[in-house]
């Protein structure tokens, strides 16, 4: 094994600092007793207090939560089916439809759904956002579930069937428990993607519906305020928890080079 030279370590350190310092600054300034995000003045929890008293923010968080739960539940069911189908059968169309929304620029999914909903006279709001989120989450769940199935011994399901279990019972009592970590990881991932999504939500939410990212967007378009730091810190904490849990359940999630 070749060891990294000091030069290599130094440049890697710079890269890690580049990745983490900006986020660290957001967190640190959320506790700063100054309106300006410019220099450290003193410790305060005022911005968090302000945050929890902000009605717009609370209702935006409620919307995000509602959409996130709906989208992750629906996309987990559909994505698990898709992952199983892709694992078991040679399919042509489904893999393309699974990967395309992940591969093409997000803005295209956003605007095409906008045209679609408006032409169908479908009112833009919580429902249209949730439907859009399900569409782009299915693929991520399917990939995680398929990776889990690839590492599983298929003969177990076969054995259950040979012992007389119906396909439904074989799935319920053998396959599902075995792929459960992958399914839960996929669900957590879908929830994270949904709660974080800005671009597709931006185009499909319409005028009256605000989610957390949309609320953050309209706040930072007007001015920089430490209240945004506070909500960002909480959101990052939530995402971190979800993703670390998902990664524990499905180790392939964080090793994009393998299997998938």
């Amino acid at each position: 094994m070749r060891r990294g030279s000091p030069w290599l370590w130094a440049s890697a350190l710079v890269a890690y600092a580049f990745l983490y310092l900006p986020l660290l600054i957001v967190v640190v300034y959320s506790f700063n007793d100054s309106r300006l995000n410019a220099e450290w003045v003193g410790f305060t929890l005022d911005w968090y207090r302000k945050l929890f008293a902000d009605g717009d923010m609370i209702s935006a968080a409620g919307n995000s939560l509602l959409i996130g739960v709906t989208a992750s539940l629906a996309s987990t069911v559909l994505g698990t089916m898709a992952g199983m189908a892709m694992h078991r059968y040679r399919l042509r169309l489904l893999p393309i439809l699974i990967l395309a929304p992940i591969a093409i620029p997000e803005i295209l999914t956003g605007v095409s759904l906008l045209i679609f909903f408006v032409l169908l006279n479908f009112t833009l709001g919580l429902m249209s956002v949730a439907l859009a989120h399900i569409a782009f989450c299915i693929g991520f769940v399917a990939i995680v579930v398929r990776a889990r199935l690839a590492g599983m011994d298929e003969s177990l399901t076969e054995a259950a069937r040979d012992c007389g279990a119906s396909p439904g019972r074989a799935f319920r009592y053998v396959t599902l428990p075995l792929i459960m970590p992958g399914v839960i990881a996929g669900a957590l991932m879908a929830f994270t993607l949904s709660i974080d999504d800005f671009v597709i939500t931006f185009f499909t939410a319409g005028a009256g519906t605000v989610t957390l990212p949309l609320q953050i967007y309209s706040m930072i378009k007007i001015s920089v305020t430490p209240e945004v730091n506070a909500v960002s810190t909480l959101l990052m904490l939530l995402t971190l928890l979800l993703i670390v849990t998902a990664a524990k359940l499905s180790p392939t999630l964080l090793r994009s080079d393998r299997e998938t």
Partner: protein, 298 residues
């Protein structure tokens, strides 16, 4: 796997629902957008009626003609491609040492180092943009330092925020993990024996890198370049928030057409052109990658 009795039915039962959902909520909207690009804009935004009062059907290529005849749109595409290319190069320079370090470290540290690269990607996109608003803001230490140095040379103070510089820094920031991952995946598979052999034959570190490591890593470089370049091409939030008036990229143009001008047909043409550009690039990268990989599929 052995075929069981009614597999056809089972196949449709599990692949049907997700297939149907994606056909309705992904394929159909995309198709509708293609159709919309051949229509005229409506008087109050959206689309004109398909059949007008005189009974003429509204199908034309006006928006395509406009795209190809007004040079300003082509210029925006070139500018977007330029920003995306710069982002790709800077990401490659930052990612290469990082990826090689991770690939060389022991198994125990490797997963942690990799996790540290991926984690920021999972924080909210807007938060990562917002972070740069703080860092580059006019009252922040960085801007004051830069302008103090500039003042020493008698130069006018420059704003860091709302500039092309801000857009590029943030583009690099959000894209970096996408360059590190495929590079790492490639470098991890390299055989050290090759480097040892080269060293025994008298190649110095520089030669070993350029003649062995780098050529072998090209498939990873192409994959990373595609993963960075294509999303960067269609980005709109970063120039929208951090950019100045000159930083209108394709994404901003598309957003304008749909939410401000409300010229759907032209917005659709722009979206289709962006998709074609992305597909062309992805195809090219895959082709070069496959050819470059040759026998040593890495």
């Amino acid at each position: 796997m052995p075929a069981r009795r009614p597999t056809r039915l089972a196949k449709w039962l599990i692949s049907g629902p997700p297939l149907l959902y994606l056909l309705v909520f992904f394929a159909a909207p995309t198709l509708i957008m293609v159709l919309a690009s051949f229509r005229s804009p409506g008087e109050f935004g959206g689309l004109a009626p398909l059949v007008d009062a005189t009974g003429r059907i509204d199908l034309n290529v006006d928006s395509y003609v406009r795209f190809f005849t007004e040079p300003v749109f082509f210029q925006v595409f070139v500018k977007s491609a330029w920003y995306a290319a710069l982002t790709t190069v800077v990401c490659l320079l930052l990612a290469y040492p990082l990826a090689s370090l991770i690939a060389r470290s022991g198994k125990k540290h490797r997963d942690l180092l990799l996790l540290l690269v991926i984690l920021p990607f999972w924080s909210n996109f807007l938060i990562r943009i917002y972070a740069w608003m703080i860092i580059l803001g006019p009252n922040a230490a960085l801007a004051r330092l830069v302008n103090r140095v500039l003042a020493l040379f008698g130069a006018q103070p420059v704003p860091l925020l709302f500039s092309s510089f801000a857009v590029l820094v943030c583009l690099v920031y959000v894209s970096l993990p996408f360059m590190v991952l495929p590079l790492y995946a490639n470098l991890e598979k390299h055989d050290d024996a090759l480097l040892d052999a080269a060293q025994d034959l008298g190649a110095n570190a520089w030669q070993r890198f350029w003649r062995i490591t780098f050529p072998l890593s090209l498939p990873g470089v192409y994959a990373g370049a595609a993963l960075v370049f294509i999303p960067a091409l269609g980005i709109f939030a970063i120039p929208d928030i951090l950019g100045g008036p000159d930083d209108t990229l394709i994404g901003n143009l598309i957003k304008q057409q749909f939410l401000e001008t409300r010229d759907w047909p032209f917005g659709s043409v722009l979206s289709i052109m962006l998709t074609l550009a992305a597909l062309l690039l992805a195809g090219t990268a895959a082709w070069i990658g496959r050819r470059g990989a040759g026998d040593s599929r890495a």
